[in-house]
Subunit: 394 residues, 2 copies
């Protein structure tokens, strides 16, 4: 029988657990069974494996690693990555960067342009506090606005030219980008720090060969742009890009200087199925992230209802959560608050009050639903980390 | 030309706005243009219209109204509804109820069973603080556990029998439910408060006639169960159910005593399209909820990128956000952080830095992504309410 989650119960009352959580005194005390569900769990052994593997991959290839913080939104995780060898952290938005900087995360790169006078004001304030922070740009007006704000504050801002090599942000590569970088280098309060070329459309292509093809095609204009810059006398200290899906594709491209993958620390169902260099399942990294749930209703023999629906798992992909440690349990959505488990083919009985763990369909937006992540070794809670930048989409 | 959002700019600096937001001093000072995007907005005029209409509907039919707090997770909104005439608030989970109770919301009904010793401990603590709170039950063991915990705390818990008339939680109607209610009434520390019959599968059926059919069929066993209880000498003080989609269907059913709709205060794209009693569009309530966004990149003439993706709009339905106040702008998902706007048929120019408002596909899980909701009359920010129970899915 597949083991369900039945670690030794130590018999705490809820008020005691609440106090331990409030004080952060959990190590050696709490186990998985003590956690209120739905709860976001991190398997520390799998997490450490993932971090070490990516760090080693980059080190061996003389590439910098600046993992994307939009995946975890957790300063503790960003700092753990830096301790392991990362150059810093990417953040999607300025508000996310503010949270990371306030908690001492160095080497920030804000990967969406900072638009509008208020956000520029925030960028300047952040750069004063953390002068190594980099900001992407893709528009001439915005570049001038940034320079004006930096001049007024008597600082220099590090800017990275964001290229449109995907389906989202960025200036067109080659000549338009050359025009923009010439403007950047002509302005006294900006420092050109490099190129960002993020091809999100390649990340989830199923099959290694096809994914490689898509990523190579997407990045060719970035390499041409870099060449064009240098031909015109503009040194390009950095070319940053890549995702968990393309980390071992893009790292082989001459000219790329750093990788910014995010999901590899956690993994999810979407990434599991894209295939690796050697097989149909993507096993380069381990599933470290899960959601712990409880069966809260058992309306019939083959139907169990758990306390985790759209508010516990983000659902922008055509996948459903997958149960860990028990075979044949099929999840289907039961609205915002609940999940329905079809038990017809379950390898074990599932009863009211049972606690089941699920791998999430898509890690980044799921993590963004939680205020904390419970870090486990085996059944023991080693730490509780605050997802301090949760909701920081501004 | 469709007006985009260009209210009078008062020229505050961000540090000033930050202070006003921190102190809650926004009225008469801030306008929509001052808000950091993505921002969740509430149109107070539309909200008030919706509240007044539902309150009047219930009052005219001598029905209680206990709006579901899972939609808004905001104590200020729960209290506004009570001031307008609601009997209290439903909450999906115990942690949501704790937040509401702490902020003084009366008449709580927790609509998912409280399972496991820790959550039962929390239910007892909550009932001590707010003795009118009701808890649903659908299992005999759980009923005994609740009674034991209530006895130990020397209190009486109000319990509501949850019937399986939908696809989610609840005990089977009629004889199984009769067995459970007999157990409830036999136990000294429980008080039988009524029946919950929530048929979520009826809420979003397109077409009034078909929706009516589905809801009537789903609720028939609930009416039979009520009749069976009373035939067996068990008075049933309450029969609660209904959603925004069925409020004017279920309120016509003899035996229903109260409605628990949630989304009517906000509305969303999913509800707009289900049709009303009189037409193909559901116009009973107004769209009061939206997300304010900013164009952060303009990679080409007909493509604008806004700062709002899966982390700004929840996306469990096959709909995309719809732009307000501008015609022909077509949103498509651009990942977690961004949205792509196809401008080919746009009725107006859309430029970098422009701010656009969007109706959300599904209100409940979208609200759950934000920490605060900005309340507007016209362009003016009247209040900022904390979504204090955001993330409270436990």
């Amino acid at each position: 029988m597949a083991a369900r989650l039945t670690s030794k119960k130590r018999g705490y009352r809820w008020v005691e657990i609440e106090k331990m959580l409030a004080r952060g005194e959990v190590r050696g005390k709490l186990t998985r069974d003590d956690l209120p569900t739905p709860a976001l769990l991190l398997d520390l052994d799998a997490f450490s494996f993932n971090v070490a593997k990516m760090v080693r991959h980059c080190k061996d290839r003389h590439l910098a690693l600046r993992p994307h913080g939009k995946s975890h939104k957790c300063p503790e995780i960003a700092k753990a990555l830096v301790r392991a060898g990362a150059a810093g952290a990417c953040t999607a938005k300025i508000s996310e960067a503010e949270v990371f900087a306030a908690d001492g995360v160095p080497g920030l790169l804000v990967t969406t342009a900072v638009i509008g006078k208020h956000k520029i004001e925030r960028a300047v304030r952040l750069a004063k506090r953390s002068p190594d922070t980099m900001f992407v740009v893709d528009d001439a007006h915005n570049v001038r606005d940034l320079n004006d704000a930096a001049r007024a504050a008597r600082i220099t801002l590090n800017v990275v030219v964001d290229l449109h090599v995907g389906k989202k942000t960025g200036i067109q590569p080659c000549l338009p980008a050359l025009g923009l970088v010439r403007l950047v280098t002509s302005l006294p309060n900006l420092r050109f720090a490099g190129i960002q070329a993020y091809a999100g459309q390649a990340s989830h292509v199923v099959g290694f060969a096809e994914r490689k093809k898509v990523s190579r095609e997407a990045l060719r204009p970035a390499l041409e742009t870099r060449w064009l810059f240098e031909k015109n006398g503009i040194q390009c200290p950095m070319l940053t890009g890549a995702s968990t899906g393309t980390y071992n594709i893009d790292s082989g491209i001459q000219g790329i200087t750093e990788l910014q993958p995010g999901s590899f620390i956690f993994m999810d169902i979407d990434y599991n199925r894209i295939g690796s260099r050697n097989g149909a399942v993507y096993t380069d990294f381990r599933n470290s992230l899960s959601v712990l749930t409880t069966v809260v209703s058992k309306p019939s023999i083959a139907l169990a209802i758990i306390d985790a629906g759209y508010k516990a798992f983000a659902t922008d992909r055509p996948f459903v959560p997958e149960a860990k440690g028990i075979e044949g349990v099929v999840y289907s959505w039961g609205g915002d608050e609940h999940g329905r488990l079809d038990l017809t083919k379950s390898s074990a009985e599932v009863n009211l009050g049972d606690r089941l763990e699920f791998i999430v369909p898509h890690c980044d937006p799921s993590v963004n639903l939680y205020d904390r992540i419970y870090c486990l070794r085996g059944d023991n809670v080693e730490a509780v980390w605050t997802i301090a930048a949760r909701g920081m989409s501004q």
